[in-house]
């Protein structure tokens, strides 16, 4: 086993030990790794190090609120004749650890419930007629099985987990034994409260490191400090040393710097984020007090020494890579947020309604009990039974409004034939539509085709900020692979349809196809491929709008629209408002 690999495992083992020393303070561990012996090994090790008797609960991905948070316990309530609260998994894990399965697929709403509990150390249940607060101090292990860069657990959750481990590099063979002894960890846990407060220079050095690595969140810096403290405790120290700070930086800050730094703010405003160098200069001025300049200089040199000591322990290329990856990180971040938008739409529950229990109907238990409740005294008269008497007329059936959400998929021609001026107009029109779509809470996707292929620039999203950013980056030039554009649009539309959304395809192009499906040049091939693709749109039944952007409307310009069975609009002066109006009409018609 190579040195690098064993270093990864040594750090993973160290993280497990530190987490076991202070699970609540450090928040937890994001474990990026496929299922397998390596992950099992780490989990077993981690479990073994936790305080004896600490509960460890595994939370499945699609857990419902009544089990996660808690709610009314039906059987007990019926037996007791009064509402009995049921604790959720979170409350049951108080003082222990929860393991989130497939956290990369977790809905932001579910993550928000867990992060709320992590922040407050208690869980507030305001459900089903119950109002309870239960202590809930937990550490979290998030299992992240994502493969793609953007498949990551929700960023608010990641932000609160001190350690982000990637075991993917370890392969599938269980690594050698470098575990920390359970006894050492237990001792360290006892020693932790006694570790002296960090010196000012340590805190300054850690914050300076965070700034160097481009980690903006104050929470990350605080977490580094806690990790350093736990590290000191693990090594039997009651004073933090630069060694502790270095280990904490490596474990907490370094992965954040490399992993698409989700905590980096992307200011929606125009002001440029001040570069770290400038920020440091500024702070130098702030902290310089005139009367004890000498002491300050001494402190400053102490900070510098510590920063140097930390840097010495970091992988050589880390700082260089961080500097280079700034623009790339912005883009990656944009993608990461996209998956989140889909959570907001769930069937909107209506008030439940009295009705018979037919197959398929879901009983709303709490409302049924509420309906039965006032009659209990009356119904019990003459009967000795103390059970709750629920009759057919009490049944309350759940009702949901299934809202079909619209997804407008823009397929934009960014080829050379659409001159740059036209492309700018198309962008303007799309942005206007985006603004409208977001008012209507519809989702928008963007596909551009140019050169030899079509590219999905923006997966379906509701975030205007992201859409705008991607659109601004859209380059122009090259051939017109219309067939590829139609194909890509159709694929996405079908995917949306399978998720119960109503897709609408909007093509913005002059229709002068000159690249065929496989990337083969030639007008004839391109034309027939594009027509074939258009016919597939017709077969699929997806609604479409073909906006012809050629400067002069040509005879037969509507041939693709006819093939798709969609609407055709020649708009030589691409006018955003006009396109928006058309899209609105079509959407209303397809509902």
């Amino acid at each position: 086993m190579s040195e690098a690999v064993s270093a990864v495992w040594a750090d993973a083992a160290l993280a497990a030990a530190l987490f076991a020393i202070d699970p609540v303070g450090l928040g937890g561990v994001a474990l990026r790794s496929g299922p397998g012996p390596v992950r099992d090994r780490w989990l077993a090790m981690s479990r073994g190090l936790l305080a004896p008797g600490a509960p460890v609960r595994r939370i499945p991905l699609n857990i419902e609120d009544d089990r996660l948070i808690g709610g009314l316990e039906l059987t007990a309530s019926l037996a007791a004749g009064r509402p009995v609260a049921q604790r959720g998994v979170l409350a049951e894990s108080d003082g222990g650890v929860v393991i989130l399965a497939m956290a990369e697929r977790m809905e932001p709403c579910a993550a928000a419930r867990i992060t709320g509990v992590m922040d407050h150390g208690e869980i507030a249940i305001e459900r089903d007629g119950l109002a309870v607060r239960l202590p809930c101090r937990i550490g979290v292990i998030a299992l992240d099985e994502g493969l793609e860069a953007e498949e990551r657990p929700p960023s608010p959750l990641l932000e609160r987990l001190a350690f982000h481990l990637d075991l993917g590099r370890l392969g599938s063979r269980p690594p050698p034994d470098v575990d920390h002894a359970t006894a050492d960890v237990a001792q360290a846990r006892a020693r932790l409260p006694g570790v002296a407060p960090a010196s000012d220079s340590t805190i300054e050095a850690l914050c300076a490191m965070a700034a160097r690595l481009g980690v903006g969140s104050a929470r990350a810096a605080l977490m580094t400090l806690r990790a350093a403290r736990a590290h000191a405790a693990l090594h039997g120290r009651i004073e933090m040393t630069s060694e502790d700070a270095a280990a904490a930086t490596r474990l907490v800050l370094a992965p954040r710097a490399l992993n698409a730094a989700p905590e980096q703010s992307e200011a929606p405003g125009a002001e440029e984020p001040s570069p770290p160098a400038e920020a440091e200069a500024e702070s130098g001025q702030n902290s310089a007090e005139p009367n004890d300049a000498a002491a300050d200089a001494e402190a400053a040199s102490e900070v510098d020494m510590m920063v140097a000591a930390i840097e010495a322990t970091l992988p050589d290329d880390l700082l260089a890579r961080v500097d280079l990856s700034v623009p790339a990180r912005g883009a990656a971040k944009g993608r990461g947020a996209g998956a989140s938008a889909k959570s907001a739409h769930r069937g909107r529950p209506l008030a439940s309604r009295a009705g018979p229990l037919r197959s398929g109907a879901r009983l709303n238990l709490v409302d049924t009990l509420r309906a039965a409740a006032p009659w209990q005294t009356l119904r019990r008269k003459g009967a000795a039974a103390s059970h709750i008497q629920v009759r057919r007329e009490d049944f309350r059936i759940r009702r949901f409004v299934q809202r079909m959400e619209a997804t407008t998929i823009f397929v934009v021609d960014a080829s050379g034939s659409t001159a740059l001026q036209r492309l700018a107009e198309a962008k303007g029109a799309v942005e206007l539509l985006l603004a409208k779509a977001y008012v209507a809470r519809a989702r928008v996707a963007l596909i551009a085709f140019r050169g030899a292929e079509a590219e999905l620039l923006l997966p379906p999203t509701r975030s205007l900020a992201r859409a705008k950013a991607r659109l601004a980056e859209l380059p122009g030039g090259g051939g017109t692979p219309l067939a590829a554009g139609v194909e890509a649009g159709l694929l996405l539309a079908l995917a949306e349809k399978s998720k119960d959304h109503t897709p609408l395809l909007v093509f913005l192009t002059d229709g002068r196809a000159n690249i065929g499906l496989g990337g083969a040049p030639g007008r004839a091939v391109a034309e027939s491929d594009a027509l074939a693709a258009s016919r597939r749109v017709l077969e699929s039944g997806v609604a479409s709008l073909f906006v012809d952007t050629s400067p002069r409307a040509q005879p037969g310009g509507d041939r693709f629209a006819l093939a798709m069975g969609g609407a055709y609009a020649p708009l030589p002066y691409l006018d955003g408002a006009a396109v928006a109006g058309l899209v609105g009409e079509l959407q209303a018609a397809t509902r």
Binding site: I69, G81, P83, P108, C109, A112, R113, G116, G121, E122, E126, R127, D128, G129, S155, P156, E159, P197, I203, C207, A208, A211, S217, A218, R219, A221, L222, L225, E263, S265, A267, P268, G269, A270, E271, P273, S274, A279, E282, S283, A337, S340, A341, P349, V366, L369, A373, P374, Q376, E431, L432, L434, A435, Y438, V439, R462, S463, A465, R466, K468
Partner: protein
């Protein structure tokens, strides 16, 4: 109950702190929306404010802790309990700051039939919900963009009308529910509907401090608080008390606050210049300017006060211009510079 981090110990974030103080001074401002990066202390600030707010006098034993004067005769508890005790029995209560947890069900938000009472006694009784608990205080929703739509709609309606009307399960109850809605959220995780945004009086953006010295202070203070909350809060007690005095003083000064005509006009001109929709912007500017003048101990509102609060009063009311890359804050600053510096 865990101790809250002291309000005055929060490093930087002046906009957010000012907005919260304005809302504490004049609850009629219509709520505060806090946008921001993660780890910038949004929740901390709201909790800190809760710990700092002055006591309020309420009718003793009232389930809605209603105002003995303003709510007289409007409280559903009124006829039964208030009259019995007479107008003199009042008690001093802390201003409620109620958390609306994600996953709260509608029955707990608006209130519903008291299940236990009904099951055991067979009587109908209304059990007040979170809206009743937040009456005269603050209702805080973290990650408001993740809250389910039907709950958001319901909240907005009550926040606007100041009254919660419950018609369910054969109950018909209405009770006063005047509260300051405080929402926080991260626009990256799904945007808010403009209708919802417009309902908030003020909106502020919080950012991670960029100066290293500030960041060091954030970490140092938070660490000190985590290690010994009692000692830390005690050390900041005087500073917090001063803020409380400032709020109380400002509340008293609010009624007598003068708004000169030319200042009023300046506010209107600003709204027109930037094209903020509706009258709500102008009203909010005026209210917020009065509150901020009162907080700073001034006897009349000046143009300076308007400039101070205009960005937070208007930022979320601008029509989005998709082609303008500049943020709303920049547009407002620009408009103010043109209007006032000329």
């Amino acid at each position: 109950m865990r101790l809250a981090y002291p309000f005055s110990a929060i490093v930087g974030q002046e906009d957010m702190k000012l907005a919260l103080l304005i809302a504490a001074t004049d609850p009629g401002i219509g709520g505060v929306m806090v946008f921001g990066d993660r780890g910038t202390g949004k929740s901390t600030a709201v909790r800190a404010l809760a710990a700092l707010l002055p006591l309020m006098s309420a009718t003793k034993g009232c389930a809605y802790h209603c105002d003995p004067k303003a709510d007289a005769g409007r409280c559903p508890d009124g006829s039964a309990t208030h009259a019995k005790r007479g107008p003199t029995s009042e008690e001093q209560l802390p201003t409620p700051v109620v958390d609306l947890p994600l996953g709260a069900t509608e029955d707990r938000v608006v209130g519903a039939l008291d299940l236990e009472y009904a099951l055991t006694k067979g009587e109908k009784r209304f059990e007040p919900g979170l809206l009743a608990r937040a009456h005269r205080g603050f209702l805080y929703i973290d990650e408001v963009n993740l809250l389910e739509d039907h709950i958001v709609d319901l909240l907005l309606d009550v926040a606007a009308s100041g009254e919660n009307v419950v018609e369910r399960e054969g109950l018909s109850v209405r009770h006063p529910a005047r509260f300051v809605l405080i929402g926080s959220g991260n626009p990256e995780e799904g945007e808010l509907r403009p209708q919802l945004l417009d309902r908030f009086g003020l909106s502020v953006e919080v950012k991670t401090p960029t100066a290293l010295a500030d960041r060091v202070d954030v970490v140092r203070r938070r660490d000190a608080f985590d290690r010994d909350p009692e000692a830390f809060t005690a050390a900041w007690m005087d500073a917090d008390a001063a803020v409380r005095e400032r709020i109380l003083g400002a509340r008293e000064a609010l009624d007598a606050m003068v708004v000169p005509d030319d200042v009023l006009e300046a506010g209107s001109r600003l709204c027109m210049a930037i094209g903020a929709d509706g009258l709500r912007g102008e009203l909010t500017i005026m209210r917020a300017a009065r509150a901020v003048a009162a907080l700073s101990g001034a006897s009349a509102v000046t143009e300076q006060h308007i400039r101070q609060i205009a960005p937070m009063a208007l930022r979320h009311r601008l029509r989005r211009n998709p082609l303008d890359q500049a943020g709303s804050g920049v547009r407002i600053e620009r408009a103010m510079a043109e209007l006032f510096d000329a």
